[in-house]
Amino acid sequence: MAEIRLENVGHSYDGGATFALNPISLTWKDGNAVALLGPSGCGKTTLLNIISGLLTPSVGRVYFDGVDVTDLDTAKRNVAQVFQFPVLYDTMTVRENLAFPLKNRGVAKDVIATRVDEIAELLNITKYLDIRPLKLRSDLQQLVSLGRGLVRNDVPAILFDEPLTVIDQNFKWTLRGRLKEMHNSTRHTLVYVTHDQTEALTFADEVLVLNQGSVVQSGTASELFLSPQDEFVGFFIGSPGMNFLDGKVFDGAITVGSTQIGTVDGSSKLDNGNVRIGIRPEFLSLNTSGSGISVKINRVEHRGGYKMVHADAKEGKFVAKLGTESTLAAGQSAHLEFDAQRTFLFRNSKVCGTVNIKGAK
C-alpha cells in the first residue's frame, strides 16, 4: 500500500568494479503488481533485496510514498518478503510460524488468530496448523513461508522472490490465481521476481525485463510481446522466442542476402548499415507461392491447437507458429512472409525501426 520510487539505485558487490544492478530510476504505482523477469544473475533478487532493505544500495535512494527509506532497516520498512525456498522456525508450529510476524509487532491475540485462520484457508493448509513445519513436505513448507509473507495487512509492499519454485505444477496455477485474487481485493503493491515468463505475464500489471543488471524494457504483457524494444526481450519473452536474421539497410531499402524484403517505415530515418530483423513465430507466414526469402521446411510439430514449423534458409533457421489448417510438410519449399506491423529492426540490440512490407518489389 505504497508507491515505491527508486532514484538512480544501483548496487555493486565488489566496491564499484562491476555493478550487479546498474543504476536505475523507476516508480511503481501504489497497488500495482509488478514482476521482475529475467534470467539467473540478472540482478532481480538484488533489486528486490534493496527494496526490502536486506541490502543497502551502493548508490541511489529508495522512497516509499515519497519518504526516503534508504537508511531504514528491514524491520522498520515493514515490508513482507517471501523467499525462493522455505525458511521456517523449526521449533514453532505452523500456526505459530504464521503468527510470528504479527506477534513481533504487538498485534492483539484475537486479531492474530483470525488473520492466521484466513491465511491458512487461502493457502489450503488449515489441517496442518498445529504441527511443526519440519514434518511437512517441502512444497507445504513453502506455503507456510508464503503465508508468513501474506499474514500482515498493513505492509507497504509484499515482495516475492520466485516463491513458487518448489510448488507442484498443478497447484501453482491455483495458487497464482489465489494470489491474483488476493491482490485484487487488498491492492497491496506486489513485487514478484521470477524467471518464468508465464508467471510474470499472467500475474503482473507491469513487467520489468532485466538482463545483465539493467532493465531492458518495462510494460504490460502485450507491450512486451507485441513491441519488444530490445533483442533480449524479443528472445526471452515468447515461446519460442523471436526469429532473428541479419540484413542491410541501404537508402531505406532492407535486404537480406540478395532479397529485398521491404523498406524502413517512413517515420523512422535509419542510417545505412547492418541491422537485425526480428519477427515472432506467431507473425511469420510461409507461402508456397510468391517471392521472399526461400526456405526448406525441416520439420513440422503438431502441438494440439497449432503447428510449429521449423524451416531452414541459407540466411538462418526460422520457426513459425501456424494454424492447424496449414498443409505444409517437411521437405517442401516455401517463402517467408512478414507481418508489416510486427517486424522490427534492431541495431546494437535496440529497436531502431519497423518494416514497411508494401515497399517491397
Binding site: 528491514t74 518478503q81 522456525y89 519440519l134
Partner: protein
C-alpha cells in the same frame, strides 16, 4: 539367492587388535582387580563384590562424587551460556574473525599442567598478581578457604574450556543460512527472538556435543586441582578422580581402585547416554514426515 561373502570382516581385525591392547585388555585388568584383594602380584584373594559394596557405602567416596557432580553442573551452567554469548559477539568475517578465533583458542593449546602452574602462581596471595589483588579486596586465599579453592578451580576450568564451547557454537552459527536472518528481519524479530527461534534450534546439535564433551571432561577433572590445590583446602577440591588416584597409586589399593574405576566409568557412560537420548529425542520425532 545372493551369495554372501563375509571376508571383509577380516579387514576389521587390525582395529580389533589395536583396540584390545589400548582399551579392552586394560579395562579387563581393572575388572579383574576389582574382584580381588591384591597384596602382591602372587598373593591375591578373590573377594567377589566386596569392593563394590564398600565403595558404594564409603562416605568419603560418595562425597567426592557429589563434589564432582556439583562441579560439573556449575561448570556447564557457566561455560555453555558464556560460550554462546562470546560466539555471538565474535566478528563474522575478515581479519578480525581470524584474530578473534586465535585469541579464543589460546587456552586450548596450552598443556594442562602449565595451565595449573600458571594459575597457581597467578593466584598466590604473596607473589601472584591476581591472588594479591583478590586478597586485598575480598580476603581471597585459596590455600586456606575451601570456597576460594573451589572458586579458583572453577575459574580455571571456565578459562580453559569455555573456548571449546565458543568454537563449536561459532562454527554452528556460521553454518546457519543467511536467509533465516533475512526472514527474521522481515518478520520484525527482536535480537532475542532471533536467538531463541533461529539460532538456538539450529545450534541444538553442536550444543549437544559441547554439553557431552564438557560434562565428561569436567566430571573427570584431575590435573588442575592436582597441581593447584592438591585436593584441598581440606577436601574441598578432592574430586572423584583425585580420590581415585590417591587410592590407586597413593595407597596402592588396586582392588578398591579397580571397583571405583568401573563405577566411575559406568556413571559417565550412563550420564552421557541420558544426555544424548533426551537431546536427540526431538530429532527422531521429526524424521517422520507428514505426507
Amino acid at each position: 539367492m545372493k551369495t554372501r561373502n563375509n571376508k571383509a570382516w577380516f579387514l576389521v581385525l587390525p582395529v580389533i587388535l589395536v583396540v584390545s591392547f589400548t582399551a579392552l585388555i586394560p579395562l579387563m585388568t581393572v575388572a579383574n582387580y576389582a574382584l580381588q584383594d591384591v597384596f602382591s602380584p602372587d598373593n591375591r584373594l578373590f573377594v567377589g563384590m566386596k569392593w563394590f559394596y564398600d565403595i558404594t557405602n564409603d562416605p568419603l567416596i560418595i562425597d567426592a562424587f557429589q563434589r564432582s557432580f556439583q562441579f560439573s553442573i556449575q561448570a556447564l551452567l557457566i561455560q555453555i551460556p558464556l560460550g554462546i554469548a562470546i560466539a555471538r559477539i565474535m566478528p563474522k568475517s575478515g581479519w578480525k574473525a581470524s584474530a578473534a578465533l586465535v585469541a579464543v583458542s589460546i587456552p586450548l593449546i596450552i598443556p594442562f599442567n602449565v595451565i595449573g602452574s600458571t594459575w597457581l602462581i597467578f593466584s598466590r596471595k604473596d607473589i601472584g598478581l591476581g591472588g594479591f589483588l583478590l586478597n586485598k579486596l575480598f580476603d581471597f586465599d585459596f590455600t586456606s578457604d575451601p570456597k576460594d579453592g573451589w572458586g579458583l578451580i572453577l575459574a580455571v576450568d571456565v578459562w580453559h574450556w569455555t573456548p571449546l564451547v565458543v568454537l563449536l557454537v561459532y562454527a554452528g552459527l556460521r553454518s546457519i543460512p543467511q536467509a533465516y536472518y533475512q526472514a527474521a528481519a522481515i518478520d520484525g524479530a527482536s535480537s532475542f527472538a532471533v536467538f531463541r527461534y533461529v539460532e538456538l534450534p539450529k545450534l541444538r546439535r553442536v550444543l549437544l556435543i559441547a554439553l557431552l564433551l564438557r560434562f565428561m571432561d569436567s566430571f573427570m577433572i584431575y590435573t588442575e586441582p592436582f597441581v593447584i590445590t592438591g585436593g584441598g583446602p581440606g577436601d574441598a577440591t578432592t574430586f572423584a578422580s583425585i580420590l581415585l588416584t590417591n587410592i590407586a597409586v597413593g595407597q596402592f589399593d588396586v582392588g578398591r581402585a579397580g571397583a571405583y574405576s568401573l563405577i566411575f566409568f559406568l556413571l559417565i557412560q550412563i550420564m552421557s547416554f541420558i544426555f544424548y537420548t533426551v537431546l536427540t529425542l526431538q530429532d527422531r520425532e521429526e524424521e517422520t514426515k507428514t505426507k
